[in-house]
């Protein structure tokens, strides 16, 4: 053990550099599906190296010259216990979670990351207080970084938990919770947080100010995320992801640890980029997503005007007949497919059609589902080869050569109003041009509106057939009809 403790810190810092390099190479591996598995393993290896390199530092903190031997051993015991319990819980989550619930999983894990930052900074605050009582000086930037970790970490923790509750569709979180004056309250909380922050920097010995700031940040996490609707959660999760990165980076500033800073910056960048992509795909600014309200405008036509007498309903047999003569079919999945757990049935349908010589593609809108890339994961799970999963820009020009477009559980992302009505809440949002296909089949339970709360004229278009049914049942019936 002495050898471990007396190890030259330069070696440990080199190990941290190696870990950071592995993170960068690992993320680079995620650029292609073929190299992605290896990239993830490189990331995990980097993490293992960073953790192992920390063990001697940890031992030196707990066991060293003049410190009782027992402390070193009990430190190890405590840490090993926490790591074991944490691993078991982590493995359990990772293996048990269904692919449809992946957004909840990411939100929850994100919350744990934020929570860890709050706790680390809390512990460091106590150590700092002890240092000050012993007459040592504490660096200003350490005080700032501790408070920043606590603030960002607490917002991330509670914000992620609210996002989790919304994604799980718990009753009390289902409706965007909005009341007048919320913005004023949030602004007020924000100002108090800044005041507490400055006060905490001026009184580095006070643990109470730190926890007061954490408490305030917790309230802020709740009130900031709660008014945001379920379909905007992709943006919120991406943003919270970048916060957890920033929390890690500021913990890195506290401890003067470069690998925390680098990893935190990488994660922060990733979250910010995903947030930008999501906002662009909805043609909304981040401010609008986070603080605006989404809903039908007063001038929007009512559902009766749009649908009145023009909606044609269809049956499995009729769709099967149409598919028999089709040369190219595009399937457009949305969140409804995930809810109906229909991905396996959809994959089976695609496979059957391909075996009959039909060209089948999947058109995936960037904000389909409840997190970036959600639909791709579901379809990959159902054994759809990834080269069949087409991005919006790639697939849109092909709709005019498509015989049948099957829309399952998607609504706003195929609403042509986005192109035509500049006053609609989704005006300017890039959409999948399914209305350009020869025939559009929409599998949906009813004519109920999507998240934007507006009617979809596509449902009443001349080339559209509505196939009213549960998503999974509809596809299975269709398969039976096709095979007859």
């Amino acid at each position: 053990m002495d050898y471990l403790i007396n190890i030259n810190p330069a070696y440990l810092n080199l190990a941290y550099v190696l870990a950071a390099v592995l993170f960068i190479i690992g993320l680079k591996g995620l650029c292609r599906p073929r190299t992605a598995v290896r990239g993830n393993i490189l990331n995990a290896t980097g993490m293992l190296i960073a953790v192992l390199a920390t063990v001697p530092i940890m031992l030196r903190e707990g066991y060293g010259p003049g410190k009782p031997l027992v402390s070193g051993f009990s430190t190890i015991g405590l840490v090993v216990a926490a790591v074991l319990i944490g691993s078991v819980i982590g493995v359990f989550f990772a293996l048990k979670i269904r692919m449809t619930s992946m957004p909840q999983m990411v939100a929850l894990l994100n919350g744990f990351g934020g929570g860890a930052s709050v706790l680390v900074a809390g512990a460091e605050q106590l150590v700092k207080k002890k240092d000050l009582l012993e007459g040592n000086t504490v660096e200003l930037n350490v005080s700032i970084a501790i408070l920043a970790s606590g603030l960002i970490g607490a917002v991330t923790f509670w914000g992620s938990l609210v996002a989790f509750a919304k994604l799980e569709e718990y009753k009390s979180f289902k409706k965007p919770f909005f009341y007048p004056g919320l913005k004023t309250i949030n602004a007020l909380l924000g100002i108090i947080a800044i005041v507490l922050f400055v006060w905490g920097v001026m009184h580095p010995e006070s643990t109470a100010i730190y926890w007061a700031l954490v408490l305030l940040a917790s309230v802020l996490g709740l009130t900031l995320v709660n008014p945001i609707g379920g379909a905007d959660m992709p943006v919120v999760i991406a943003l919270l992801n970048s916060y957890s990165g920033l929390a890690a980076a500021s913990t890195g500033f506290v401890l003067g640890n470069s690998v925390l800073i680098i990893a935190g910056a990488l994660v922060g960048a990733s979250g910010v980029i995903l947030t930008q992509i999501m906002c662009k795909a909805m043609n909304r600014s981040m401010t609008n997503v986070l603080f605006g309200t989404m809903g039908p405008s007063a001038s929007a036509p009512s559902a009766d005007d749009v649908y009145g007498g023009k909606v044609k309903s269809t049956t499995a047999d009729e769709v099967a007949m149409m598919l028999d003569g089709a040369r190219r079919v595009v399937i457009v999945p949305g969140y409804g497919m995930a809810v109906a757990q229909a991905q396996h049935a959809v994959s089976e349908l695609a496979e059957y059609l391909e075996s009959k010589g039909v060209e089948v593609d999947f058109a995936v809108h960037p904000v389909a589902g409840r997190m970036p890339g959600h639909m791709n994961v579901l379809l990959a799970e159902a054994d759809v080869p990834y080269d069949k999963l087409r991005e919006m820009d790639e697939v849109n020009p092909t709709f005019s050569q498509t015989d049948v477009a099957i829309v399952i559980g998607a609504n706003d992302v195929v609403n042509p109003v986005a192109r035509t009505d500049p006053n609609s809440p989704i005006a300017g949002m890039p959409i999948l041009d399914v209305d350009k296909a020869r025939t559009v089949v929409i599998i949906k339970r009813s004519l109920s509106p999507g998240f934007a709360g507006i009617p979809n004229p596509l449902f009443a278009a001349d080339n559209t057939l509505m196939y009213f049914s549960d998503g999974k049942k509809a596809i299975l019936d269709l398969l039976t009809a096709l095979k007859e």
Binding site: I57, L78, S117, G252
Partner: protein
Amino acid sequence: MTRHGFLVPMLRVGTPSFRRSASVAGGDAERRGQCVPTEDRGNEDKVAKFLNESKIMDTFIVNFTIFVLACFVGYEIITKIPPLLHTPLMSGSNAISGITLVGSLVAAGSGFVALISTDGLVSVLGFLAVLFATINVVGGFLVTDRMLSMFKKKD
């Protein structure tokens, strides 16, 4: 500002921090090219304080430089990741943010010093932090692996 004029102070701030020490006296510091304020020269306490402060500032600047550069690297790499893999990217980068585990371990370590001397609160916080961060790391990497291994090309 000229290119030259911009670069020189950057280099002076960035590099010599490892050679500095708070105990260096004024004359010594001047020989090393430090800018000790004229009125403080010869006053050892003030010089020491000045050098200590500039050392702290240097550490911060070095860390901040690392942070800014890493942000650029992250931006360059992550914009190249296709939407196809955005969910695994989120869960994977999420697991990386569990790097706070490293911070947690140090905090848990210093915890027992406090446990023996004053109270166990630090170690309780450290224990929970390690627990939370481990869930984040292990769960994150494993679920990412599970997802990525599902992505297959048509055979």
